[in-house]
Amino acid sequence: MRKIVMVLGIIFLSGCQMRVLDPKSDTAETLTDLIYLSFGLMMLVLIVVFILFFRFLSKFRETPETRGTIPANEKESKWLEITWTVLPFILLAILAVPTVKATYELTAKVSGNVEETQGDVMVVNVEAQQYNWKFVYENGKESFDELILPVDQEVQFRLTSNDVIHSFWVPNLSGKIDVLPGEETRLSFKPGETGVYQGKCAEFCGAKHTLMRFETKVVEQSAFDDWLKKE
């Protein structure tokens, strides 16, 4: 147990550097908040169970005095049983509401429900194949394994695969969306900070799945415009 606490401690000190917990877009921020909320609620449960566990274990462990004794039969307490049935329901309800809300918000952006994109949205078509990524911009410019995005600009990806199932994942910027053959899935987010972020294929797709990575560079709008115009 002490080891676990130690490992937990060390790792939590460096927690702020972990990519999923270091969101750089609006979408990723929603997810990180949800992760922290669920983690906090679950920690409550964990602590209650651990306290009861260690307390009962130390208090009722067999000692030389109690070796021969037979504990009396006890009747179940209705109130205790109701407590540990109802309390989890309440905890889960607290978690379920933001879960459903976020799932609806993000999924409406993600899935193909919204036929026409409203407002000022940049569309990037993504084609995945064993084992690389092709990004096609609105003006027809193509880029392989390198995704360039302007900062503070909502971008919508329309993804499709040419062979097996892949999954598009930039941990700092958003969750995953699977890339399926013969279908179009969608994902959108608005990067909030310039920088270089790792992108990965997260669905096992064959021999070189490990190497199917791409680089995401979020740059200033002007730099992006220059890049887009270049042949």
Binding site: K3, V7, Q17, M18, R19, T30, L31, L34, I35, S38, L46, V49, L52, F53, F60, R61, E62, T66, R67, I70, P71, N73, E74, E76, E81, W84, T85, P88, F89, L92, L95, A96, T99, V100, A102, E105, L106, T107, N113, D163, V164, I165, P171, S174, G175, K176, D178, L180, P181, R186, K200, C201, A202, E203, F204, G206, A207, K208, H209, T210
Partner: protein, 635 residues
């Protein structure tokens, strides 16, 4: 490596050939010099539940070594960034994690639990055997056939390589040619049939063969868990059978269920998880049952909240069928589906929580005796709760977009599968070992095993949560220095080797126990249920006369009253044990036929198919119990 007459073969396979041959020669020599062949003959022709259960567990341990070695290769390859360990990169690495997953689920966890059910359930109920002893033997040999087929693949340099989930379209012949994934299909198909038969056998045994007075509401919780598990198997496994059949047709006969204009790869995911999610409850419920019995025995108290425990098992079983799409949150099923499956998944936490609190309150005001089986049960509670809370975190559909297919998920399911199923199986083996062999495993070595295993376990899998949060996808064979994953993975590797080392204590324990200790009496643990009223090991017809039961834990209360259990005058029909070589022959035929299909050699398919059909006809026309019936009538 270039081998004469065969050609280019990876060096790990050559090494395994050499080791297998040497080990085979040694075992042959040992068996002959110790005159063990009659014993082997007795076991392979038996229909006795204890012997079959023991064989299940023995073989599961053999496969455990195989799956464990795969795990060691995985962890060694991932120990440091940009590593090139032996041959385990790229496709070879894919083969290793595919076989690791498949072997551990289907050929380790399942047979360990089914073996324990075979040994303990009839004894807990006061039954002399399972309801259908011959069918039980068939089940076992189908499992052997499936295991042999699946493990054979590696020796022919054709190990499956599409992951244990075998997702289409990667698993179709368009993207993975060759026999590799055919081995996966036929290995699982045949052992899966055996599992279905076991489920039928368990259900009938529990419904029909309980001792007089043992109402359903007086059954030990392991038997209850077995009943619910068997019902889950009966519903879930046919789904696997069907999906594997569809995949067979896609691979061998050019249909397009999962690919092309009319097919859809997402169908495979639905089918697989409609089976696959109940499957994880099939693996965990029997472990829950084992823990309930052990915690009650070693707290010297009736299990707290028996009724709510039973209701919780049933609820978990029921909800288990309504959550499969939480494996598919990122497929783009839409907001409504994702939200519904998120909520049903969270709901499972409620009955599971009820069980955890009931176990804790069973210990409260008891006298907790820390033996090896109890130690494993105690290790289970905090470990499984950690796995449970990450489960709830994963149920948050939107947040799952981040966790999905990352090492966070890997950590989560190892916390539940090892923390639940494997700890449960170990607890059960230490607990019921006297009922298997008549001897007690050494307590001191057992405790060494436990502590090394549990410390190694947390060291291995705790860091993987953070590797996942730092963006490490699963099923990758390497990572870079810039990924910032080195320390996490390195700790993980150290932990894995600690777990491996703990298994050496099991080997030492087995050797020491069988070499130096004597047989124990019927009730070495001061138990509460009927299995402790019969000899260790029990005879093939242990309950004679059949005991009468009037409460939960009837044997315990009879010991307190210092009166023997009353026995029943009633004569009840008992399963008839027979000696038969037929199940072994059937296993041979099915292996032969499967190889025909795997390599698409039509002549072999025809011969194998005709033999199998002939076997069924022969079987339909014979009944080995007739002799016993005739004798009964004459007397």
């Amino acid at each position: 490596m270039n081998v004469p007459f065969i050609g280019e073969v990876p060096s790990d396979i050559v090494v395994s050939w050499i080791v297998t041959v040497l080990l085979g020669i040694f075992i042959m020599w040992w068996m002959t010099s110790r005159r063990k062949w009659p014993l082997v003959g007795e076991y392979v022709t038996t229909t006795d539940n204890r012997k079959i259960g023991t064989m299940y567990i023995l073989l599961a341990m053999v496969f455990f070594i195989r799956g464990g070695m795969d795990a060691m290769f995985i962890r060694t390859q991932l120990a440091v960034p940009e590593n090139e360990f032996w041959v385990f990169q790229s496709q070879k690495y894919n083969e290793v994690f595919t076989t690791h997953g498949t072997v551990m689920i289907f050929f380790v966890a399942m047979p360990l639990l089914i073996g324990l059910m075979n040994i303990a359930v009839p004894l807990q109920l006061g039954a002399n055997d399972l309801a259908f002893p011959y069918l039980n033997s068939i089940s076992f040999w189908l499992f052997v056939a499936g295991g042999v087929i699946f493990n054979m693949a590696f020796f022919f340099n054709a190990a499956p390589n599409a992951g244990w989930t075998s997702y289409a379209p990667l698993a179709t012949d368009t993207y993975t040619t060759g026999p590799n994934n055919n081995y996966y299909i036929f290995g699982l198909q045949i052992s899966g049939l055996g599992t279905i038969f076991t489920a039928i056998n368990m259900i009938v045994t529990i419904v029909r063969l309980r001792a007089p007075g043992m109402k359903m509401t007086r059954m030990p919780l392991f038997s209850w868990a077995t009943l619910i598990t068997s019902i889950l198997i009966l519903i879930a496994f046919p789904v696997l059978t069907i999906s594997l059949l569809l995949l067979t047709f896609d691979r061998l006969y050019g249909t397009s269920f999962f690919l092309g204009e009319y097919g859809n790869p997402v169908y495979w995911q639905h089918l697989f998880w409609i089976f696959g999610h109940p499957e994880v409850y099939i693996l965990i419920l029997p472990a829950f049952g084992i823990f309930s019995d052990i915690i009650s025995t070693f707290s010297k108290k009736r299990v707290y909240g028996y009724t709510s425990m039973v209701i919780a098992i049933c609820l978990i079983g029921l909800l288990g069928f309504m959550v499969w799409a939480h494996h598919m949150f990122t497929v783009g099923l839409g907001a409504l589906a994702n939200a519904i499956f998120a909520i049903t998944t969270m709901l499972i936490a409620v009955p599971t929580g009820i069980k955890i609190f009931n176990w804790l309150f069973t210990m409260r005001r008891g006298v907790v005796r820390i033996t090896t089986p109890m130690l494993f049960s105690l290790g289970f509670i905090p470990t499984f709760v950690i796995g449970g809370v990450t489960g709830v975190m994963l149920a948050v559909a939107a947040a799952d977009y981040q966790y999905h297919d990352s090492y966070f998920v890997v950590a989560h399911f190892h916390y539940t599968m090892i923390g639940g199923t494997i700890l449960g199986a170990f607890a059960g083996i230490y607990y019921w070992y006297p009922k298997m062999t008549g001897k007690m495993l050494d307590e001191k070595l057992g405790k060494w095993h436990f502590w090394l295993f549990i410390i190694g376990f947390h060291l291995t899998f705790m860091p993987q949560h953070f590797a996942g949060l730092n963006g490490m996808p699963r099923r990758v064979y390497t990572y870079t220095w810039e990924d910032g994953l080195f320390l996490l993975n390195f700790v993980s590797t150290i932990g894995a080797f600690l777990m491996g080392a703990s298994m050496l204590f099991v080997a030492w324990n087995l050797y020491k126990t069988h070499r130096y200790t004597d047989k124990v009496g019927p009730d070495p643990w001061d138990g509460r249920t009927l299995e402790w009223t019969v000899d260790s090991p029990p005879s093939e017809h242990p309950f004679h006369p059949i005991p009468k039961v009037d409460s939960i834990d009837a044997y315990w209360y009879s010991k307190l009253d210092k009166k023997p259990l009353p026995s029943s005058e009633e004569i009840r029909p008992s399963p008839i044990p027979v000696k038969t070589i037929q199940p072994l022959v059937l296993a041979g035929i099915l292996i032969f036929m499967s190889i025909g299909f795997i390599y698409q050699w039509v002549w072999m398919q025809v011969i194998g198919g005709s033999l199998a059909l002939g076997f069924f006809i022969l079987r339909s026309l014979t009944d080995e119990r007739e002799k016993t019936y005739r004798e009964e009538e004459e007397s």
